[in-house]
């Protein structure tokens, strides 16, 4: 296992020591506002970047200005790397092509988590010929103290490029730009202060949760606990990729789904509630008075997707909770008057993904509701997550997401495999196609009635 730190093609990496740099102390970068850094003709042989320079003007913070600050940090080990990185990026802007290729780089003990990048134009830009990314799992909910952020910066100044993305689309902190040799050093230091690599390749991926319980009244469960319980239980699937393809969990505290779970997650956990929403009628009256009745009716009552709301003549709100689908619209508008009920829990939707290869899929309801409050509830959730991972590992084809597997075999077969009974909340409507064999329909109906504590018509007739 001591030969895991290798570049592409199995060659041991070039040490990448920096030569030819001024050693005088200059802890502050030559930074400042847009366009105050001239790229041409100075001692460091800075690459001219006329196209990138155009991205320094304008009011939005410029990533180019940031890259230049790193390049101009004299005495820092990453300055030459960032000069050549800027050179290569300018070259991309000229040619309208990317010039990175992948490879194999990992840290000792892990198979995934590093995104290797080797330059295809290293002859022109040798200092950034290796520019790997460390995907590092953030604290759930993206909370940081300035103290820990500064530590992350210090580590990345010692071993990496000084460029960090908070956060990548995978949900990771992206430590972008590291030589093969320094990858292990950077990871060791990050790991020593409590951070771990995230997922890449055919593996369990880094997860995301919304701010939730930490600062949101809509939150219906402890998202951070659910995320950490799940991911930390199955870390082996993240660090040693052995699944057919990627597998993502995402955790949103309510149906506003701020982490995009239904679109993007194989396993989406979305908070909701079963009992009646809470209504503070005094606050409703204040909202009606502030907005005006017409605005209130047009933008609250009439926008309810299931016509579950009605404004009474005394400006109080009537809610038909049996018709309400917990879409969140009225709660979003009337934050002070409406709240989720007390009987909170989660819905689980399985199978979301983007286009490759069968086309986009959203997650679909597999568990309409489960409680998520007690230790046992969380254990049950984690256990169910494990069952789905196992199902995926055993049944998916190579490079197939679980949503595609379910499409291939049909939802009934999937439900049977994971031991879940069909539920009308799983569909928009029952099937419209008659191409189905129904000779065991009566037995299936008996099961449904048995589960729901009712007698079927057939059973009643027999008595």
């Amino acid at each position: 296992m001591d030969d895991t730190i290798r570049g592409a093609g199995g060659q041991l990496s070039w040490p990448g020591f920096i030569t030819g740099l001024s050693t005088r102390d200059a802890s502050q970068p030559a930074s400042g506002g847009p366009n105050d850094v001239k790229a041409e003709g100075n001692g460091m042989g800075k690459h001219a970047t006329p196209l990138l320079d155009e991205l320094e003007s304008g009011p939005w913070p410029s990533f180019v200005t940031g890259l230049k600050r790193l390049r101009d940090s004299e005495g820092k080990q990453y300055a030459p790397m960032m000069n050549d990185l800027l050179g290569q990026l300018e070259h991309s802007y000229e040619e309208r092509l990317g010039f990175w290729k992948g490879g194999t780089v990992s840290v000792f003990g892990y198979g995934g988590g590093i995104i290797p990048r080797f330059s295809e134009v290293a002859d022109k830009f040798p200092e950034s010929k290796e520019f790997h990314t460390l995907r590092v799992q953030p604290p759930a909910g993206y909370h940081y103290s300035t103290e820990v952020l500064r530590k992350l910066c210090d580590i990345w100044e010692r071993h990496g490029s000084g460029l960090i993305a908070f956060h990548g689309q995978s949900g990771d902190i992206m430590f972008q730009g590291c030589t093969t040799e320094n990858t292990q050093k950077a990871f060791d230091e990050l790991n020593e202060i409590g951070f771990d690599l995230g997922g890449a390749g055919p593996a369990l991926r880094t997860s995301m949760s919304c701010v939730g319980h930490a600062r949101c009244e809509m939150s219906c469960y402890d998202e951070a606990r659910a995320l950490r319980s799940m991911i930390n239980e199955y870390l082996d699937e993240m660090h040693r990729p052995a699944l057919p393809y990627k597998f993502k969990f995402k955790f949103s505290g309510c149906p506003n789904d701020c982490v995009n779970a239904i679109h993007r997650a194989d396993f989406a956990v979305i908070g909701t509630w079963r009992d009646e929403m809470k209504v503070n009628q005094d606050e409703i009256k204040k909202y009606v008075a502030d907005m005006g009745r017409k605005y209130f009716i047009d933008h609250v009552i009439n926008m309810c997707p299931t016509r579950a709301l009605s404004l009474n003549d005394d400006d109080t709100l009537e809610v038909d909770n049996k018709s309400c689908v917990r879409c969140m619209h009225c709660l979003n508008v009337l934050t002070k008057a409406l709240s989720p009920g007390d009987d909170k829990g989660v819905a689980i939707l399985i199978g979301g993904k983007r286009a490759l290869k069968v086309g986009d899929l959203m997650g679909t309801v597999v568990v309409p509701f489960m409680k998520l409050e007690t230790d046992e509830d969380f254990e049950k959730l984690v256990e169910f997550g494990g069952e789905i991972i196992d199902f995926f590992a055993e049944n998916a084809l190579e490079h197939e997401r679980v949503g595609e597997t379910i499409d291939r075999i049909g939802l009934p077969a999937f439900l049977e495999a994971v031991g879940i009974d069909p539920d009308p909340n799983m569909v928009k409507h029952p099937r419209t196609s008659c191409y189905v064999r129904t000779d065991d329909f009566t037995e299936e109906a008996e099961k449904y009635f048995a589960k729901h504590g009712k007698k079927s018509d057939a059973a009643v007739a027999a008595e």
Partner: protein, 359 residues
């Protein structure tokens, strides 16, 4: 570094516990928040059930941040906030303070340092985006540059809350669409089949895996100039680029090939309507660094047609659902073509199976 040293065994700590880094008011009231409002754009005010209050100031960042920028944000958090921050899923940074009188000085400092304050409520928030030429191995464009150009154009809409509802924009550098679904999505769309370097295919690509990757079964093994390689049935090829990541000699990018398409009406929230995917509006826009002016112009047209015509709380897709696609194309001045008619599996379900027709 000694070559004989056994590397350190990782401590598999997994996801860090956020409690150790969380703002104390958030930690104290974890799971016990009551309501919130927004006193001004860029500021959230949350009240806990016990009456505790916290104000959050949200600011835009360039996402790809140098350590100097991060440390500057830390300095601001230490001096003007209370030493804790968090990031949103769209790479905005949030500073939490426990009294309202700390809000204005914090905003002033952020603005003075060049960080726009906004991105809350019915604003255009930061564009969620991908890595691009800076770091990706298969990118068609540079999302960071596209995003910088667009956020400059939409700056006022970030710092104000003047949109009918929130606007969530995404940018992706290839059709894998790592940027995700958006009210507006700016995505690379390839227009030509891959150009194959037959000298390299056998050495670099696992050919059966590449054949299996194609969504339209257009790739087959072939001998080319006596070498085992792959060939593409260009009549079948939909130019999606799916073969390129597992087989880099099948170059999908090129000046003539790599174009940009704009999609609208993606929504991830369940509020009002069910979540939706975004739909094609324009394809074949030039991939034109460093400022992508043609893309910015189309985004501007769509954004302001929405701003001027949608009702409060309607998201982009809901607005179009109400006014109808004919009116959308009319209001934006964009063309409807045969390419807007879906041809993929399930396409029939996207057609108008009714006489609900807009005039």
């Amino acid at each position: 570094m000694s070559e004989n040293t056994q590397p350190r065994t990782p401590d598999e700590v997994g996801v860090p516990d956020p409690m150790q880094y969380m703002h104390p008011v958030l930690k104290k009231n974890y799971g016990n928040w009551d309501w919130h409002d927004r006193p001004r754009p860029g500021v959230l005010h949350h009240v806990a059930k016990n009456g505790d209050e916290v104000w959050t100031v949200r600011a835009g960042t360039q996402r790809q941040m140098d350590v100097y920028t991060i440390r500057k944000l830390c300095d601001i958090a230490d001096e003007f906030a209370e030493g804790h921050v968090r990031f949103t899923t769209r790479s905005n940074i949030e500073f939490m303070v426990s009294s309202y009188d700390k809000v204005e000085p914090l905003i002033d400092k952020l603005q003075a340092e060049g960080f726009p304050v906004g991105g809350t409520g019915n604003s255009v928030s930061m564009i969620s985006h991908t890595q691009g030429w800076l770091h990706c191995d298969i990118p068609g464009t540079d999302a960071s540059g596209v995003v910088k150009s667009l956020m400059d154009m939409m700056y006022e809409e970030f710092i104000k809350e003047e949109m009918p509802n929130r606007v969530r924009i995404t940018t992706s550098c290839c059709q894998i669409n790592c940027g995700g679904q958006g009210d507006i999505a700016i995505n690379v769309q390839y227009t030509k089949p891959p150009k194959i370097n037959h000298d390299q295919v056998a050495n670099v690509c696992e050919r059966p895996a590449v054949v299996a990757r194609c969504p339209v079964a257009a790739i087959r093994p072939a001998m080319v100039d006596g070498k085992p390689s792959l060939e593409v049935d260009e009549k079948k090829c939909v130019c999606c680029g799916a073969c390129y990541p597992p087989c880099p000699p099948m170059q999908i990018n090129g000046l003539e090939s790599t174009k940009i398409a704009i999609w609208v009406g993606g929504k991830h929230s369940n509020a009002r309507s069910r979540p939706t995917f975004h739909k094609l509006v324009v394809a074949n826009l030039p991939n034109n660094p460093p400022r992508w002016p043609e893309v910015a112009e189309v985004v501007r047209k769509i954004l302001y047609a929405y701003k001027e015509n949608a009702k409060d709380w309607e998201r982009m897709g809901e607005w179009i659902e109400r006014i109808g696609w004919p009116r959308f194309f009319e209001l934006t001045g964009l063309a409807f073509t045969k390419h807007h008619l879906d041809t993929w599996v399930g396409a029939r379900h996207t057609m108008n199976m009714s006489t609900h027709i807009h005039f």
